[in-house]
């Protein structure tokens, strides 16, 4: 036993002599310390993204009828300057007295370089009959700014969240004959959703649908007079953390038309909702 210890000591001593010791830690002066910069957030982005396939997602009700979405395909073009305009995830301080917030900021996408193309098929099944409803085709979907927030609710448990949206869609079409056959379709061209000014005119800002401090949205489980329920809601505007007024948004569709083989195009013109405010939302799911 003593010999073994001696051998171990000898080897340890030799190893210590061979290895180069790490330099000792050095104290930093205030001036040196002030130059240290922490990187406390994560940027992320897609590059060359595309997806396709025949996967079918089916939601089935308790009585057996179902809704399915299948053959989802999507692709996104990239900013010509990679890394210049990513999604950004940060943990930021909440409003006074409130919890910290996970903040995900979407790319500003000023030149609309990041464009989405997407399509999917859908249908329903009820009473043993499946009805294929055709395809939904989305062309040139552009998100500009906006983002998501997540935090803890001010009351009760759950997930509080905020969302801001500025979205433009080049064309949204519903095609009963499939995604590759646009000869019969309901076509919405130029769909725009975003923040508006006091006159209901787009002001090139996202529409803040909810904010974790001034008008929080929440997902949780609540109990009403008939039992516990899955709940999604948006609270009233809270003047303690903002203006007390719900942000206004607008929806514009430049053109709505119907096309069918052998028929003249039915052009319904444009549609515009100048100013929308969500003052309060309360959804409970029941069966």
């Amino acid at each position: 036993m003593r010999a073994a210890r001696a051998c171990l000591l000898a080897v340890s001593t030799l190893s210590a002599a061979v290895c180069v010791p790490a330099p000792a830690m050095e104290p930093l002066t205030d001036a040196a310390l002030s130059t240290v910069r922490g990187r406390d957030g994560v940027s992320f982005d897609l590059n060359g993204f595309a997806m396709s396939g025949d996967a079918r997602v089916t939601y089935t009700t308790p009585i057996g009828s179902s809704l399915y979405v299948e053959k989802f395909s999507a692709a996104r073009s990239d900013n010509p300057l990679p890394f210049s305009d990513p999604y950004k995830l940060d943990i930021v301080a909440g409003a006074p007295g409130l919890a910290d917030v996970i903040n995900i900021a979407f790319p500003l996408n000023i030149n609309a370089d990041q464009r989405w193309q997407a399509a999917y098929d859908w249908g329903v099944t009820a009473d043993g009959v499946t009805r294929e409803q055709g395809s939904v085709v989305i062309k040139d979907l552009v998100f500009s700014g906006g983002g998501l927030q997540f935090s803890t609710p001010q009351v009760n448990d759950g997930v509080a969240f905020g969302a801001a949206l500025r979205m433009d869609i080049g064309q949204l079409s519903f095609q009963p004959r499939g995604r590759s056959d646009a000869t019969e379709a309901m076509v919405l061209s130029g769909v725009h959703i975003g923040g508006v000014d006091g006159n209901g005119v787009f002001n090139n800002t996202p529409w803040m649908l909810a904010n974790v401090a001034s008008q929080p949205a929440v997902i949780n489980a609540l109990t009403d007079e008939t039992g516990p329920r899955l709940h999604i809601g948006i609270d009233w505007p809270d003047a303690r953390y903002g203006s007390g007024v719900a942000p206004a948004g607008g929806i514009v569709v430049d053109n709505i038309s119907f096309v069918s083989p052998g028929q003249a195009t039915v052009d319904l013109g444009s549609s515009r909702i100048g100013s929308i405010q969500i003052q309060y939302l309360d959804i409970k799911f029941k069966h």
């Binding site: 000898a10 061979v18 940027s43 992320f44 897609l46 590059n47 996967a55 939601y59």
Partner: protein, 154 residues
């Protein structure tokens, strides 16, 4: 024991013959390249009811407290299979000189087989029989992805 000592000394001598370690500055270190990425494929099977000893009633519950009561969102029998080939993970250098980034290559083949859950309900007791079922969700089929998800600090 003597043999062990001799072996240890020989190994130590081998290290010494390799020369002492030398510190590299950032510039030299950035020139070092290697096969430093990994790829992985996966076959995931969750709660397969066809296997011997399979659990017939598994629960995934999310609890919420408020007004003095506990409530639970309950997913019953989260199950199914996912086959995925292949996700790559590597570290690359940005061409604009902004540092390095993590590149996650998306899988070219993903197959879902009866992946989903049997019921979704909200209950005061997560282990009680399901009441107020809101329905089930199921995914079947393949998805092909391409491109990367890139992550870096800011």
């Amino acid at each position: 024991m003597a043999r062990a000592l001799i072996l240890s000394l020989m190994l130590a001598a081998g290290v010494a013959q390799g020369g002492p370690l030398q510190a590299l500055d950032d510039k030299e270190l950035s020139q070092v390249s290697g096969q430093d990425g990994i790829s992985f494929a996966a076959h995931i099977s969750l709660n397969d009811p066809t296997l011997v000893g399979a659990v017939s009633d598994s629960r995934l519950s999310l609890g919420f407290n408020g007004d003095g009561q506990n409530r639970y969102i309950v997913f019953k029998n989260v199950r199914g299979m996912v086959d995925m080939f292949a996700v790559s993970l590597g570290v690359q250098t940005r061409a604009d000189g902004g540092g390095d980034y993590i590149a996650i290559g998306l899988p070219g083949y993903v197959r879902y087989t009866n992946f989903g859950f049997e019921s979704l309900s909200v209950q005061t007791d997560p282990n009680a029989p399901v009441t107020g079922n809101l329905g089930s969700l199921n995914i079947n089929g393949t998805v092909s992805l391409q491109g990367q998800v890139r992550l870096w600090s800011h």
